[in-house]
Amino acid sequence: MTAGTAIPPGVIRVVVLSLAGCIGLLGILIVTARVLRRWREHRRAALNALARTWLLELATGDDARVAGARSRVAALDRRQWKALEPTVVSLLAKVKGELRSSLVSLFDERGTTEHARHGLASGGRFRQVRRARAAALLGSLGNQDAWAPLCAVLEDRSLAVRIAAARALGQIGVAGAARPLLGKLAGSRRVPSDIVAYALIQLGPGAGRDLVQAVSHEEPLVRAVAVEILGRTGAVSAVQTLIAALRGDRSEEVRIRAARAIGRLGMLAGVAPLLTIIDAGESTTLRAAAAAALGDLGAGAATPRLERLLHDPAYHVAHNAAGSLLRLGPAGEAALTRVVTDGEEQAAAHAMEVLAIASIEAARRPRGRTRQAARHRKEMHR
């Protein structure tokens, strides 16, 4: 026989043993992982329960009890506090009012803030959880001074740390963080867009100038996010930038978002550019977005143009025009009613649809929360 099929028994034995060994090891691993996790959960729950009884005293609002609880927490040694800290941090994000302020002062008294800033600076791959936790804590405390070190940590090699830092920067709300945050949408060490976008919204109008500049960034994602945020928080001055993006951005996605943002800002300066987009031979998606934006913008002057758009051969343009007319109020509604009776078949159908849905919604509108709930209850009984 040839060597191909002649397997010496020794080889088989080795293969059997190593496979069995691996399988056995994996079995042990599963069991160990489960036991360890249970043990850790148990321990954490016990610690938390203890911590909570103290922290709840803070929530009583009774001065003497609050003071007692604070002195007890202040007396904890470092190890005990370290075990307690995660609970306090997580509670911090869940409450507001007096309870929150007393929690924040607990941290100040213990000098934890300083400690966290050291944690932020700790290096190395194995300390990434420590850095991320430190960033999250500084964010939860709303520590304004921490914004510069947090911006530095945005460059961290660990994604978890970058995410924690970006969120913390949003919570702190220092407008200067806008530019570094926007920078994390491009390049190699990125942060997911949703995290960056939420943080930018929290920075508020102060970030406007950096956002306007970002609209000419070379990376489409940066432009898209900047345009989107400007539509929500942007000052009036952003309108010209958004119009320029609507007219000439290289990316269609950015132009669509610019149309939406212009609509949301509600500036009359946006009407003419939006109409131009609808008339020009642009893609249906962009034209449809512009038609919808006219309704958001609330420009009564656009009523006749929107009425004509009901005849547009592109379904989504005509449909959005109908929706926009409805949002324009009485003048738009009058136009829709007119089209239902006099208009061509397609236009009339679009008009009829939005009017029908509007009347259903109007009938449904709650007059009082409890009354609506009561009606719902009655319905379910039937």
Partner: protein
């Protein structure tokens, strides 16, 4: 005694709310998941249900629609707990029959006054 049913998976908030409501003289039945809260409500009707929307398995919205679907529990006033800036939760909440909502993070004092207000409105 007025009984409040509480479903909240977050132990911190559960204990905090329980503590605060008990301090105000309510009896609180607290559960960490929607299913056991629902079972408890069916067992003995509470005067008010306080349901967290975000729970694994059955969410607060699910418990709400189940309570409303059963004639025995359909009239329980329901307050939903929702995380900040989520109008959609509130809309969905009303569409499944909730009476009111409290947005997290909340101050314990605010929560108590909402509970009192809903109870007063129902009795009126």
């Amino acid at each position: 005694m007025v009984t409040v049913l509480l479903a909240e998976d977050d132990a911190d908030i559960r204990d905090l709310v329980t503590f605060k409501l008990r301090q105000q003289g309510y009896e609180v039945r607290a559960f960490e998941d929607g299913l056991s809260a629902l079972a408890s409500a069916r067992d003995e009707m509470p005067d008010l249900a306080l349901l967290d929307i975000t729970m694994p398995g059955m969410s607060g919205l699910d418990v709400c629609r189940e309570l409303r679907a059963d004639p025995a529990t359909a009239d329980v006033p329901i307050i939903l707990l929702t995380a900040r800036a989520q109008e959609s939760d509130i809309e969905t909440g009303f569409s499944v029959g909730a009476d009111d909502y409290v947005v997290k993070p909340f101050s314990p004092r605010e929560l108590v006054s909402r509970v009192q207000a809903v109870l007063a409105r129902i009795q009126a």
